[in-house]
């Protein structure tokens, strides 16, 4: 009985796998593409053009096209702004480099502050050191106090 159930489940999964695979690919593309009229991710949009784009993606997937080729076709039709993230080439490369540059700059600033703070605190330690003259006076005063 158990063996039979397992066999049935395996067959059901095997049959559903292609559909599940294609659905997730469709959603992956919809997560990487923008609706040109409402400027939302395609997966969130229900505008007429978004519905049409969704239909186009399904057709292209059914025709066996790769995700990259479908996105390329969408860029051909709607321009590079249809992609949710800009291409890592040409002017779009700036969008990738600027945040990375910003992070590096922020790390450099933090490092510089940390160094300056450490230098200052060690300088403060130097000034806090008690001079021999002061020690001598302190000892004299303590002796006088004891007497």
């Amino acid at each position: 009985m158990i063996a039979r159930s397992i066999a049935l489940a395996v067959v059901a999964l095997a049959l559903a796998a292609p559909a599940l695979g294609s659905d997730s690919r469709e959603q992956q593309i919809e997560n990487r593409v923008m609706c040109p009229t409402c400027h939302q991710l395609l997966v969130l949009s229900h505008s007429p053009v978004a519905e049409r784009m969704r239909h186009f993606i399904r057709e292209e997937l059914a025709a066996g096209k790769s995700s990259g080729a479908i996105e390329h076709d969408l860029v051909d039709q709607f321009g590079p702004a249809v992609l949710a993230s800009p291409p890592a080439a040409g002017f779009g490369l700036l969008a990738w480099l600027i945040p990375a540059g910003g992070l590096l700059a922020a790390a450099a600033v933090v490092l510089a502050f940390a160094r300056a703070w450490r230098r200052r605190s060690s300088a403060d330690d130097d000034t806090a050191e008690v001079s021999p003259e002061l020690l001598r006076r302190l000892e004299l005063e303590l002796l006088a106090f004891d007497e």
């Binding site: 040109p36 007429p48 053009v49 049409r52 186009f56 709607f78 321009g79 702004a81 600027i98």
Partner: protein, 181 residues
């Protein structure tokens, strides 16, 4: 010391560059709205020029190449229901004004070219339509919803703007005004 000042200059340049990009982006978006506002105020701003690929034919059409003729620019998309309602009105006007120094140009925006071709066939559009897939020309004209129709006079200046579906008499009066202006 020199390193520190170089870093400071680089940081200032980066911030200035980002600020400039933001300003350019905002200015482009507002320029379109300003064009519509100017026409509504009775002014005649220069029609933003463009060169776009023709739908169903090879080659591009440059707006400034039509200087000397009145141009009716109709922004549409195949997925726009109101554009379907309007298509036959625009085609009828194009036929009415043919050979009288008036050129009709359809600007198919944010649309698939294949759908645009099917749309022109379905509604029997005989005038030239061009493809503005990214909608950049649409933005420069401040188009906020489709359909919208602009009329350009012989000097290449915008004289009339119709937001939404138009009808024959309204279109004819816009063309007459452009012929006089």
């Amino acid at each position: 010391m020199r390193m520190r000042s170089a870093g400071r200059v680089a940081a200032i340049a980066l911030v200035a560059g980002l600020f400039l990009l933001l300003v350019v982006h905002m200015a482009t978006a507002q320029r379109g709205a300003a064009v519509a506002a100017a026409v509504a105020a009775g002014k005649q701003p220069v029609a933003p020029d463009f060169a776009l690929g023709r739908i169903g034919h090879s080659g591009t059409l440059k707006l400034s190449s039509l200087r000397g003729r009145v141009v009716v620019l109709n922004f549409w998309a195949s997925w726009c229901r109101a554009c379907k309602d309007e298509a036959r009105t625009i085609e009828a006007a194009a036929e009415r004004w043919r050979g009288r120094g008036v050129v009709f140009v359809g600007v198919d925006s944010q649309d698939f070219t294949s759908d645009a071709r099917a749309f022109t066939r379905r509604f029997g559009l005989t005038y030239t339509s061009v493809h503005d897939g990214p909608g950049s020309v649409m933005t420069r004209y401040g188009v906020t919803g489709m359909p919208e129709t602009w009329t350009v006079n012989r000097a290449g200046r915008l004289v009339d703007h119709i937001a939404g579906v138009t009808d024959g008499p309204r279109l004819d009066s816009a063309i007459e005004r452009a012929r006089r202006a």
